[in-house]
């Protein structure tokens, strides 16, 4: 057995034990299991929300995007920062509502704000549809990292099953607490690894970060700035704004927000978080370093750039540590996703839709039973594979962004949107996203009269505008029809 394999297996065992031990001293009722009893302080909330920044997507995806597309990837750093600015104002009001009403899931939040059960069911359906591809992505990344870092000793399929079994086991037993405890180790490891790789790789191969950029600019002129077409400045601006709005809309992010024990904790977190996301800069450096060192990766293989450069540069024991980090990077968001998805299925679809009389206890039991089911669905899609995953992820992101208008307006002193308006708006936006994704449409296909400069606008904007338009019209219509009755 190689050193690398040994280290990866050790990390897997540690993750499992720590996840199981997290339960100690707590009765796992619904609130404990799904939102950690709303008792987490600054550090845990920080790590759970930071887990969003450092998923396998940013580890492999960001470096791969840099490697394949260059400047376009800068958008990740920009949106993660601006997302937190929105969060400063949004998270405390979301949290206060959740605290007052003892909410455990995002759909409940919408039910509470709009007093409409159908809206909650729609939000639950869209949320689960958006979370599955996100979970698939974690498993896919895990498979890539562990199989390459173990030098093929663990196949991708075996790695995916291993990860799925570990995360399912500790989520069933410890819920959000399992995720929180693993997040501590994972973030310490990834912080160290990413900063080290981002400094060492350019230094080792080019003599420094500045020298590396000069070399890349020389070999590929213009690669380090935004191109005129494609991932252009307009694309950057629209994508950053869209994702900054959508960033906190994932249902599992809501769960992480609910774990906080005070609203100031959330504000403090959103102020500091951009500094933490600066670590992406080092991921970028590592991705840039790979361009001339592991040339020739194209298509979906660009995601392998970072990990291939590692196996080519370092001794097996270090590759093992990188592999172990990759494993944890997938497990933490995976655990949060599994917890949130199962809670939503049990609480917001089964209880709200079919058995309103069900007790908290039976909902908790059902949610825990659903964990392996959700995990199996994700494993199925992971192993079936294909290039469609990135498309699905982008779709997931655009899907949850549809919640943003209804959410923000619900805090207005006089909400201009009615529950019917919110329902129809989200439905229209969702259907538009699905249609756009399936047909691969771009904005210039939809609106051929657009001036050249605006053609690279992110197509997700179209769905959001449709959402707002439908919400406004339906709201106006329902208000008119309701007015006589109220008078």
């Amino acid at each position: 057995m190689s050193v690398a394999l040994l280290i990866i297996l050790l990390a897997a065992a540690c993750a499992l034990l720590l996840g199981l031990a997290a339960r100690r001293g707590h009765d796992m009722d619904l609130e404990q299991w799904s939102v950690g009893g709303r008792s987490f302080g600054t550090l845990f909330v920080f790590l759970l929300l930071a887990g969003e920044i450092y998923t396998t997507f940013s580890f492999l995806g960001a470096s791969g995007f840099i490697y394949g597309k260059g400047a376009g990837a800068y958008y990740i750093l920009a949106y993660l920062t601006l997302n937190q600015v929105i969060g400063y104002w949004l998270l405390p009001v979301v949290w206060r509502t959740a605290q007052r009403e003892r909410l455990v899931s995002q759909p409940q939040f919408f039910v509470c704000q709009y007093g409409s059960k159908p809206l909650g069911i729609l939000v639950a359906l869209v949320g689960v549809a958006a979370m599955i591809p996100y979970l698939v992505l974690q498993f896919t990344g895990l498979g890539i990292i562990v199989s390459i870092a173990s030098y093929g000793a663990i196949s991708r399929t075996e790695a995916v099953w291993m990860g799925a079994v570990i995360v399912t086991t500790y989520v069933m037993i410890s819920g959000m607490r399992g995720a929180a405890w693993n997040a501590v180790i994972k973030d310490l490891l990834i912080f160290g690894i990413v900063v080290f790789l981002g400094i060492y790789l350019p230094l080792h191969y080019y003599g420094g970060i500045g020298a590396m950029f000069r070399a890349i600019d020389h070999a590929k002129p213009g690669f380090l700035a935004f191109p005129v077409r494609g991932n252009s400045v307009v694309w950057f601006q629209s994508t950053v704004l869209l994702n900054a709005m959508g960033g906190f809309m994932y249902p599992h992010v809501f769960s992480s927000i609910f774990t906080a024990r005070g609203d100031r904790i959330l504000r403090r977190n959103t102020v500091i978080m951009p500094l933490y996301s600066l670590m992406l800069l080092f991921v970028f450096f590592a991705g840039f370093a790979a361009i001339q060192q592991v040339p020739g990766l194209t298509g979906a293989a660009i995601d392998l750039a970072l990990i291939k450069l590692c196996t080519q540069t370092f001794a097996p024991w270090f590759v093992g540590i990188v592999g172990a980090t990759g494993l944890l990077t997938a497990l933490v968001p995976g655990a949060v996703l599994l917890t949130a998805a199962s809670t939503m299925l049990a609480n917001d679809l089964c209880r709200a839709g079919m058995r309103p009389a069900a007790s908290n206890g039976s909902v908790t039991r059902l949610a825990k039973t659903l964990v392996p089911v959700v995990a199996l669905v994700a494993v199925f899609f992971t192993l079936r594979g294909g290039a469609t995953i990135v498309a699905l992820l982008l779709m997931g992101y655009n899907l949850v962004t549809q919640f943003f208008p209804a959410l923000v307006f619900s805090f207005a002193r006089r909400n201009p949107i009615t529950s019917q308006g919110a329902f129809c708006g989200i439905l229209a936006g969702t259907l538009a996203v699905v249609a756009i994704t399936l047909t691969n449409a771009t904005l210039s296909d939809l609106l051929p009269f657009l001036p050249m400069a605006l053609r690279d606008l992110n197509v997700g904007l179209a769905a959001l505008i449709l959402n707002l338009g439908v919400a406004a019209i339906v709201s106006a219509a329902t208000r008119v029809s309701l007015a006589p009755q109220q008078a």
Partner: protein, 78 residues
Amino acid sequence: MTISRRKLLLLCSAIPFIGMVGGIAFVNRVTPFVFGLPLPLAWITIWVFLTVAIMAAVYALDPANRPPSGDDPPDQIP
């Protein structure tokens, strides 16, 4: 009085958007390298720091973070 102050702080939070997203249109060329970074990446990085500074000031001035109104429950071991 407190309401208008919060509105003012909310407006201040728009500065990072204008700087990072709006400003990028004016710095979209590779050179000059700033701190060794290509100009657009340096621009975004500088704005990350400026954003933290602005939001730290907003946090300090925000009445919601003063003791009686924003209540932190006593510490607990998670």
